[in-house]
């Protein structure tokens, strides 16, 4: 058995970089340091079925085809479509995403990633208000007030608390005792149970609460005795605690990005973070889910100027989540072909979107059997980035890390598959 050190975990946006993999016969058989979710991905947890050959659906049954045939078919579908959508991108490396952007421009598709059902509202808020972000290293070494708003890292990002907010840091020598932890969550979640202050607000009242807090922050009275189920005095007390920080950090998740108001909740929360800088150093980091969901938003922005939901139909990038989001295009039945890569919308999209996915040609570039591949017409299996292929990923705080290749694989990488589809699509477009 061989041990491979300093492996980066290709699961969540925390991108833990201290994993040790146990390798036997070019297979990862165990891990040290990884959380249970990360470990399951490394060892292909029970039930996961790997594809080894591209599959094409013929008369309702999948038949094995060669990579060349699969690439020809995929390019044909994309070139023939009038409103193709290319969705996913969050579990692959930045170089593959870059090829994806070029392919989307070539076939005049809409390209979108899982942020559109995840931190998309945060991205919308960021271009309205700005992005006072810091790195997780700064949090570990400096933060004395840590706020988790609408997120439950105890279960969703299991090593986040241990590595960044409980850890000992340069200015926080004792670790946890040197920090105040505030959790804002309507549920008494396992993260909330660890908090010093738990603001248990009513469901869907994040905006109302932040509005009252911002007003109090500027020295104005709060209009009502109780906002979002929290008494006026407790809101003022929480604002005072935020103002007294030396270095405050706001981590936020789906509980605020997808409660009523969505991007407006984040917009006002970012503004509050900015305004708190009149009293103390305050920053924020979104709790990103997929390990490279942030990477796609970075790549997409430097390529097109927009972070997701980019529509190349007219040849130049256009952007309007609500119109050019994958769910919007599927639910409005606009899309006439779809390519899914490095994500599983089949498991997460609403029924109306899935209905369209069934009706239109669906390409799935996916290593495992998933609900999406069950709906697909064409499955192309790639090597898994971070385990069988190297590549760059962006951590939730925007720090790019190089992911290792731990074991060998016979399969093509996402990058190789996309490059071949792009080359074929260029030939087909040229002959049109």
């Amino acid at each position: 058995m061989e041990l491979v050190n300093n492996v980066i975990c290709p699961f969540c946006g925390t991108l833990c970089d201290d994993i040790i993999c146990k390798v036997e016969n070019e297979e990862i058989v165990g891990t040290y340091n990884a959380c249970r979710i990360g470990h399951s991905k490394f060892v292909h947890a029970e039930g996961a079925m790997r594809y080894t050959k591209p599959l094409l659906r013929k008369n309702g049954e999948f038949v094995e085809i060669s990579y060349d045939e699969a690439i020809e078919k995929a390019a044909q579908i994309l070139v023939d479509a009038k409103r193709p959508v290319m969705y996913g991108w969050s579990c692959t490396d930045c170089a593959s995403q870059e090829v994806g952007m070029e392919l989307a421009e070539e076939v005049r598709a809409v390209i979108d990633n899982t942020a559109s059902v995840c931190h998309g509202p945060s991205l919308l808020a960021v271009h309205d208000t700005g992005y006072p972000v810091c790195t997780l290293g700064e949090v570990k070494n400096r933060a004395d007030v840590v706020v988790y708003w609408g997120c439950n890292p105890f279960h969703a990002h299991p090593r986040h608390i241990a590595r960044h907010s409980y850890a000992r840091g340069f200015f926080r020598e004792r670790g946890r005792p040197d920090r105040t932890m505030i959790v804002v969550d309507p549920r008494n979640s396992d993260t909330a149970k660890l908090a010093d202050i738990h603001l248990q607000l009513e469901y869907n009242k994040d905006y109302e609460l932040v509005d009252a807090m911002r007003s109090a922050l500027k020295g104005h009275d709060i209009l009502y005795d109780e906002v979002a189920g929290i008494p006026r005095e407790q809101i003022i007390g929480a604002v005072e605690a935020l103002k007294k920080a030396q270095f405050g950090i706001l981590f936020f998740g789906m509980g605020i990005t997808h409660s009523l108001g969505k991007h407006r909740n984040i917009d006002t929360a970012i503004m509050m973070t900015q305004e708190l800088n009149q009293f103390a150093k305050w920053t924020l980091i979104p709790m990103r889910g997929h390990y490279n969901v942030n990477g796609f938003n970075q790549v997409c922005t430097w390529e097109s100027g927009y972070p997701f939901c980019v529509d190349f139909a007219t040849g130049e990038p256009r952007y309007n989540p609500g119109e050019t989001g994958t769910n919007d295009l599927l639910q409005n039945k606009e899309a006439d072909a779809m390519m899914v890569i490095a994500s599983d919308p089949g498991a997460h999209f609403p029924q109306r979107a899935l209905q369209t996915m069934i009706e239109i040609p669906l390409i799935s570039i996916e290593p495992h059997r998933t609900p999406t591949t069950e709906l697909a017409d064409l499955i192309i299996p790639p090597a898994i980035v971070g385990m069988e292929a190297e590549g760059t990923a962006y951590r939730m705080d925007g720090v790019p890390l190089r992911m290792k290749k731990v074991v060998e694989s016979d399969l093509l990488t996402d990058n190789q598959i996309l490059t071949k589809i792009l080359e074929r699509a260029q030939e087909l477009e040229a002959s049109k």
């Binding site: 009038k82 409103r83 905006y207 109302e208 006439d336």
Partner: protein, 270 residues
């Protein structure tokens, strides 16, 4: 006024975009030339005559042209984009962006409109006889300047975040509005004659909102100023008895005004 009637002959799942169907483009063209005007279907450019029958009579200047879209346009986007003069009448529903970036003239939609009606509108008049979706008179994503001039009337109900970043002009909604009307509003007037759910005027820094129906909830960042009778807004008399609020004090230096009818709204007064 000369009338040009265009009738949709095929309905497709992939929507059409017809920013070129406006008096500014049709002026000075013959009917045969108008049939050749380019429109978009997904990532393809097609001729107007592929999807529409075109008949009627054109004129030399946009101001003399009335375009009638005689049929269902519920999958047709960008009707009247950037028009400066003349008239467009749609005899059915329309899809997104009707009157986008409109600068003058008049659009009447006899059915319902989808979202982003009158986005970044600068002048002219947009009237929707049915209901409209979200973001009526809003900004482009990421911009802090929404509709800056003109007049929008919606006879039915509206969705979320109407008058977002409103910077001028006037919007009147005869029906009900969903959450966050007038969010981030800077200036201009928004009148809602029906009911509103919540977050009216959230983060507004200026302008005036008048709600004549019932407001389910209000924001704690506003200040209550008392009761006012028969108010006057931009020279227009509005009869009635209103609670007056100013804010949203979540924003530094905010001076927006929200009037809410006294009838049925006692619960929002502190």
């Amino acid at each position: 006024m000369s009338e040009i009637i265009i009738t949709p002959k095929i309905q497709s799942n992939v929507p059409l975009e017809i920013p070129n169907v406006k008096p500014d483009v049709f002026a000075g063209k013959s009917i045969d030339e108008i049939k050749e005007v380019e429109i978009y279907q997904g990532n393809e450019i097609v001729k107007l005559s592929e999807f529409f029958e075109v008949e009627g009579e054109s004129a030399e200047t946009p101001g003399e042209i009335k375009i009638i879209i005689d049929g269902d346009a519920s999958n047709i986007k960008r009707i009247g984009q950037g028009m400066t003069a003349g008239e467009i009448i749609v005899k059915g529903d329309v899809s997104m962006y009707v009157g986008l970036d409109m600068k003058g003239g008049k659009i009447i939609v006899e059915g319902n409109a989808a979202s982003w009606a009158g986005q970044t509108m600068k002048g002219g008049e947009l009237e929707i006889m049915g209901s409209a979706g979200d973001y009526v008179g809003s900004s482009y994503r990421g911009d802090w300047r929404g509709m800056s001039g003109g007049f929008i009337t919606i006879h039915g109900n509206v969705g979320y975040e109407i008058a977002e970043y409103l910077s001028g002009g006037k919007i009147v909604v005869k029906g009900n509005a969903n959450h966050m009307p007038g969010i981030h509003m800077n200036s201009g007037v928004l009148i809602i004659e029906g009911n509103v759910t919540s977050r009216t005027g959230g983060e507004m820094s200026g302008g005036t909102i008048i709600v004549k129906g019932v407001m389910d909830e209000f924001l704690a960042g506003f200040k209550y100023l008392g009761i006012e009778r028969d108010i006057q807004v931009n020279g227009e008399d509005i009869p009635g008895v209103f609670y007056k609020f100013t804010g949203d004090y979540a924003i530094k230096g905010a001076h927006g005004t929200v009037y809410v009818a006294v009838a049925g709204n006692k619960h929002i007064v502190p």
